[in-house]
């Protein structure tokens, strides 16, 4: 999750369950397989705003490092 770009669509490939924080990210909807779109990167470069499951979530790139993502081709969620 550390290197995302504005406008990119991606899928959660896997979540490192060993990380304590991973539970909360999953509870917020970022479970393996979830599609999301990166809507905005904050003016100072971090955090980022993503859209998933019909809502918008702000998270810090560094704090979501344990989430592995795979970029998707299609530009639609």
């Amino acid at each position: 999750m550390a290197d995302v770009r504005q406008g990119m669509v991606a899928r959660v490939a896997s979540v490192d369950e060993a990380v304590t924080e991973s539970r909360r990210f999953q509870e917020m909807g970022l479970t393996p397989g979830t599609l999301f779109r990166v809507l905005k990167v904050a003016p100072l470069g971090d955090p980022i705003e993503i859209e998933l499951r019909g809502f918008r979530l702000v998270l810090r790139k560094g704090e979501a490092r344990f989430i592995r993502i795979e970029p998707m081709e299609a530009p639609r969620v």
Binding site: R24, G33, P43, G45, R53, G54, L57, V58, L59, R60
Partner: protein
């Protein structure tokens, strides 16, 4: 058949649960109105709201449980919410019925929490909110299908228009007693629950599910969170907010102050025959009540803006843009509003930390907010700069000094915030996860109610503490005194050549000098001597504990001018310049002036701040900690300032 009085019916306990941002507060306000009560959960910084209503002779006690995302609590708010739902909060009965407030425009994630709460097997009613938003986006949400999938009654409500509120109350009354069947599904993982939530949302919304396009929000966010334009708009908005708190509140505060002066004069006249009582009522009680009330304009104005900015959804955007900046000292974007408002006044600033759900960053923010240079420090700065800096170094350096004084607190706040987060406050830091709700029009009723409740809780809780402290400081300044001392001072004035504005001013000064507080000031002279302060400056600092601006009028008394002076007073400036130490050297040299201002910038001489921290955290531990660390910091910094500057400047 029995004949007799009405059968006493047990109060029905209802808990309002749901995700943050689901519209819980609006539903709660619609159900209870201004009859709600606000307090704290025992021993934690979490606000507890409850209210009662009566329907058909049946009493319903409604608790607004803090918003939560999951039954595995992460934050303190969530931990409290979970125990409230389970009925494990001390002094609070287990809820009979749960009202689940569900955001219709964000079904999937709301359903996830629902899937966790279902296991409790409690009777439940779903209050479906934001249905107007769903409709406006051009979608159809089938309430029947949703209700069938969930197995509980679903009542759509548009709380601020009171649509559906009666039906919701009916559904609550009907739901009690009947158990709610646990769904057949056994979920093995978070992903499995979300699969279920996805399926149910699809059932309710049909094919449009996930196609929810937020046109208005997208259009607004294109500019409002834009790299450049977004920041400009952000600064414009918060410049207005800050100006409003800073300048708009001043005439209102003056009005309240003026009314209190008249009241004090009138009451003082009535109590003239009994000087002790007169002084207690006027200088102790009324002064304290006046202090409490002068904070109200700032609190009301700030919470008007917070209500509007939160109601529109902009507050979350502001936090989004500012997060990086505040993450440097271990805080997050939500700390921005509390810290900014603290430059006007720390009291509403500390109250504004309610917008922060994470206990650790909330406490850290509260504990550094008083370091921001508030408007009450200004009179002291103006006095000292006008007396010492401007005449000697010119207006440019006067401006620079004033600016530097505003930076001192900020410069210390960053490392202290970091230290508090890393070393002092327990518990791990939570990841910064924040929802950006769609933009909406603010609900004026909720904004107004929020302002009223904030002001009411401040006056009741913090106000009581402030009045008590005001009386305590009054006593330290008033006692001991006797007719004899007054007569001796009057005689001294008549016989000596010592200059004083009048015999009253001379007596006032003499009484302060031998009061308990004056003796403390003198006793501390050796301690404060390291910062270059004599008993007069030390006593002025001690006496400013009720409120910083008191320092100026205490100095007025100490320098024989009586208590009617302000920071612009020429006489007081002249008196400061002319003041001599016993050895004949000038008292307020530039290095002493700087040390005095640095102390003022960093100390926590403000009982309203301490009372507010007590109110917000529900314990005396944090205000004591705050006062201790800031006083120590102020002392060390002013000693360092004096020691360094007196060697450089001579």
């Amino acid at each position: 058949m029995f004949e007799g009085g009405p059968v006493p019916v047990r109060t029905l306990h209802v808990a309002l649960v749901g995700n943050p941002n689901a519209g819980k507060t609006s539903v709660f306000n619609a159900l209870t109105g201004a009859r709600q009560k606000v307090g704290n959960y025992p021993g934690v910084t979490v606000e507890r709201c409850w209210g009662e209503l009566e329907v058909d002779g049946r009493r319903i006690r409604l608790v607004d449980v803090p918003g939560l995302y999951s039954m595995n609590p992460e934050s303190e708010d969530e931990a409290v919410a979970v125990s409230a739902i389970r009925g494990e909060v001390r002094g609070e009965p287990e809820p009979d019925v749960l009202v689940f407030v569900m955001d219709g425009s964000n079904l999937e994630r709301n359903l996830y929490l629902f899937s966790e709460i279902v296991h409790l097997g409690k009777p439940m009613v779903v209050a479906l909110t934001m249905t107007d938003l769903v409709r406006k986006e051009g979608h159809r949400l089938s309430v029947q299908r949703l209700s069938r999938e969930l197995g509980v009654p679903v009542v759509p409500v548009v709380a601020h228009k009171r649509v559906g509120v009666r039906r919701l109350v009916r559904a609550i009354l009907d739901a009690q007693g009947g158990g709610f069947p646990i769904p057949k599904e056994e979920w093995s993982s978070i992903a499995a629950r979300y699969d279920w939530a996805h399926r149910v949302a699809k059932q309710a919304l049909g094919e449009t599910h996930h196609g929810l396009r937020r046109k208005t929000t997208d259009r607004l966010d294109r500019w409002l969170t834009h790299r450049a334009v977004g920041l400009l708009v952000f600064f414009a908005i918060f410049y207005c907010v800050f100006q409003a708190i800073y300048t708009l509140s001043q005439p209102l505060m003056d009005l309240i102050g003026g009314a209190f002066d008249s009241l004090s004069a009138w009451v003082g006249g009535l109590l003239e025959p009994v000087p002790v009582l007169r002084s207690l009522v006027v200088d102790g009680v009324l002064a304290g009540v006046g202090t409490v009330l002068t904070f109200l304009p700032q609190i009301l104005i700030l919470f008007f803006f917070i209500g509007v900015l939160e109601g529109t959804g902009y507050l979350a955007r502001a936090a989004f843009m500012m997060d990086r900046l505040l993450s440097w000292c271990g805080l997050n974007g939500r700390a921005f509003i509390p810290l900014l408002s603290s430059f006007a006044c720390a009291v509403p600033g500390i109250m504004a930390t309610r917008v922060m759900p994470d206990r650790k960053s909330r406490l850290a923010t509260m504990l550094i907010a008083p370091l921001m240079s508030c408007s009450a420090r200004l009179p002291t700065y103006m006095l000292v700069i006008g007396a010492v800096v401007e005449p000697r170094f010119g207006p440019v350096w006067a401006g620079v000094t004033l600016f530097a004084m505003h930076l001192v607190g900020l410069a210390f706040a960053v490392p202290i915030g970091w230290l508090l987060n890393r070393k002092v406050l327990r518990g791990r830091s939570l990841p910064f996860l924040m929802e950006l709700p769609p933009y909406q029009m603010p609900k004026w009723r909720d904004v107004g109610l929020g302002m009223y409740l904030k002001a009411r809780s401040f006056v009741r809780t913090a106000g009581t503490i402030i009045v008590v402290m005001s009386v305590a400081v009054w006593a330290l300044l008033y006692f001991p005194r006797s007719e004899e001392t007054v007569r001796r001072l009057e005689a001294e004035y008549a016989s000596s050549a010592r200059a004083a504005a009048s015999v009253d001013a001379y007596v006032q000064r003499g009484l302060i000098e031998q009061s308990y507080l004056g003796r403390m000031g003198a006793g501390l002279e050796s301690v404060f001597g390291l910062a270059g302060f004599d008993w007069r400056l030390s006593t002025a600092l001690l006496a400013s504990f009720p409120a910083r601006e008191v320092a100026v009028s205490t100095l007025g008394v100490i320098f024989n001018l009586g208590d009617g002076v302000d920071g612009e007073s020429r006489d007081l400036r002249a008196a400061l310049v002319e003041a001599r130490r016993p050895d004949g050297s000038p008292l307020v040299t530039p290095s002493v002036a700087a040390a005095f201002m640095v102390f003022m910038a960093l100390c926590c001489q403000c009982m309203a701040t301490l009372a507010t921290v007590r109110k917000e955290t529900g314990s005396w531990r944090w205000p004591v900690f705050l006062f201790s660390y800031m006083t120590l910091l102020a002392y060390l910094a002013s000693v360092a300032t004096y020691q360094v500057l007196s060697r450089v400047l001579g």
